[in-house]
């Protein structure tokens, strides 16, 4: 009896979920096309696309594409995907649409580590990366343990508070380091790192962050429905069979891992981790079953586009972080004030 009555509305839900999956597939396809077009896009030999025949004849063009553009583009792709994924997970876990992947001391920690390396240890790319990642995780660790020691408030409030405090300590440290830095040599390098950019990415760097990033992302993707459960009150999540404390910690680590790895090679690429989750939810609804993969794909597209502009708009390189902030904030404002923008929710 009930099957007759339930058929229509449920069918509507099934059809919509189907449609969402199809749109995700199209987004993925768009990302792949954009990726290959971007591979040919640049300022060599002149602004525009390298013609396909030239790749066969011109050794320099081939080297450029394989050794410079390919690792750079792959990194840009992972910057977008990782920051958006961690952003969505963070916002869901904290039940707060204002948090971004770096706020638990991760970004400021990485910045402080990188600056420390530039000022005192010479600042080879590998060392900057290593120190940034060590400091990013000590930022997370410090925030986590401080949150456990705070004696009042719920778990979320305590983590947010300790994240703010730890970030403030690191940014004070960063301030000291900037003050100490040689204004002609080191300070510009610190500033450039803080603005974020992918101009000097090598295969070695990309491959060094790949395992941690992929491991974290695969876990998040597989866990994406249950993530919704952890947005609820702890006792409610518990009553539905979850282990909220343990599962949240696990997800937190899985989300910080790719973000920290990425920040260590790209520097601070702002706004991607904050707005892509918003756009994902805006277009696909709040259910992280769909909004998580959506924000990841959108993040990949957005970052690759920004990086394309960063390397071709001017003769010199524009720091990627400037473009992501500029375009990201603009899109954000448009999205927040317009009502009609949605795919299916």
């Amino acid at each position: 009896m009930s099957s007759v009555v339930t058929a229509a509305p449920l069918q509507k839900t099934f059809t919509r979920n189907h449609k969402r999956q199809r749109i995700l597939l199209w987004l993925g396809l768009a990302l792949v096309v954009l990726f290959f077009v971007s591979l040919l896009w640049g300022r060599y030999p002149s602004v525009g696309l390298i013609p396909w025949q030239q790749l066969n004849q011109d050794e320099l063009a081939r080297l450029l594409v394989v050794n410079l553009r390919l690792p750079r583009l792959l990194t840009a792709l992972f910057v977008g995907i990782s920051l958006s994924a961690s952003g969505t997970v963070f916002q869901t876990l904290f039940g707060n649409p204002l948090v971004e992947p770096g706020f638990l001391g991760v970004s400021q920690g990485a910045a402080c580590g990188a600056a420390l390396c530039i000022v005192f240890l010479g600042g080879s790319a590998a060392m900057i990366q290593g120190l940034a990642i060590v400091f990013a995780f000590s930022g997370l660790g410090a925030s986590y343990f401080l949150a456990r020691r705070i004696r009042y408030g719920g778990w979320v409030l305590r983590l947010v508070l300790s994240g703010i405090a730890v970030s403030a300590l690191f940014s004070a440290g960063l301030g000291v380091l900037k003050y100490l830095a040689d204004p002609l040599r080191q300070l510009p390098e610190i500033t450039f790192w803080l603005l974020g950019g992918l101009s000097s990415i090598t295969w070695t760097q990309f491959l060094s962050i790949l395992p941690a990033t992929v491991a974290g992302l695969v876990f998040l993707i597989l866990f994406r429905w249950r993530l919704n459960l952890l947005a609820l009150n702890e006792e409610t999540a518990f009553s539905m069979g979850a282990a909220p404390k343990r599962e949240r910690l696990l997800l937190l680590i899985a989300a910080v891992l790719p973000a920290a790895a990425i920040i260590s090679v790209s520097g601070m690429v702002g706004w991607v981790g904050l707005i892509m989750p918003h756009i994902g939810r805006r277009l696909f609804g709040s259910d992280t079953r769909y909004s998580l993969p959506a924000s990841m794909l959108l993040g990949g597209i957005f970052t690759i586009l920004c990086d394309d502009l960063a390397r071709t708009l001017l003769a010199g390189e524009i720091p990627l972080g400037i473009l992501t902030s500029l375009l990201g904030a603009t899109i954000f404002i448009i999205l927040m004030v317009s009502r009609g923008v949605k795919v299916e929710r």
Binding site: G95, N96, A231, L232, N233, E235, M240
Partner: protein
Amino acid sequence: MITPLLSFHQVQFGYKPKTLPVLDGLDLSLKEGRITAILGPNGAGKTTLLYLALGWLKPWAGVINLAGKPIEEFSRRVLGQQMALIPQSEHIPFEYTVLEFVLLGRAPYLPSLEMPSHADERIAYEALEKVGIAHLFDHSVLGISGGERQLVLVARALAQTPRLLLLDEPTSHLDLGNKYRLVRILQGLQEHGATILMTTHEPDLALAVSDEAVLMEKGRVLITGPTAEVATGENLSRIYRVPVKIIPVEGKNQVIWM
């Protein structure tokens, strides 16, 4: 004798070590298929009792059994299949649709990395039908009224298909019409074999739906038994410290307190 579905034996619990316990020497047993109401003034330990039953809080001393077996011997997942909580209110951070939100009740049946199936969506939708808000399935949970949201929480609990429903002051956000609907829903669930434990501040509600009542005061059970014998004017006056009278009107007991 039949094993009670849920029982507390000499349970002691407190929130902070080295302070006085919130519950002490608490004994309670729930018969399967009955509706039990816990009455008591603010701070008597009613909600604490629910959280202990759920396994969310661990007692300092004593034993809590579900179907004759200590609850710590069950996995969380199985507990989630046996018991569902309907909290007094819930912070919902994002704009889930009603159906997406109720679907979360299927979590105890799904391995951590699995997505809900069409069958799960169907169970969630049927839960919405049972509480009479199936027409809202596509609305945002944040865009409906407080009373409707309370019914969404009931539906989510039903999607867990539990043997025991725990309700924490279910009528606190409901207007008269929704209160009536909730009473009918609870009675309907009981007819289908559900066991219900609820806390309430309203002796009327206890008299209207519950078979058994438990009067609590300062972390102890004062009296327990059939509701009509427990929720008397004398007993209610004693625990709330205000004059209360129970007057039968048209065959039903009505609470008069002013």
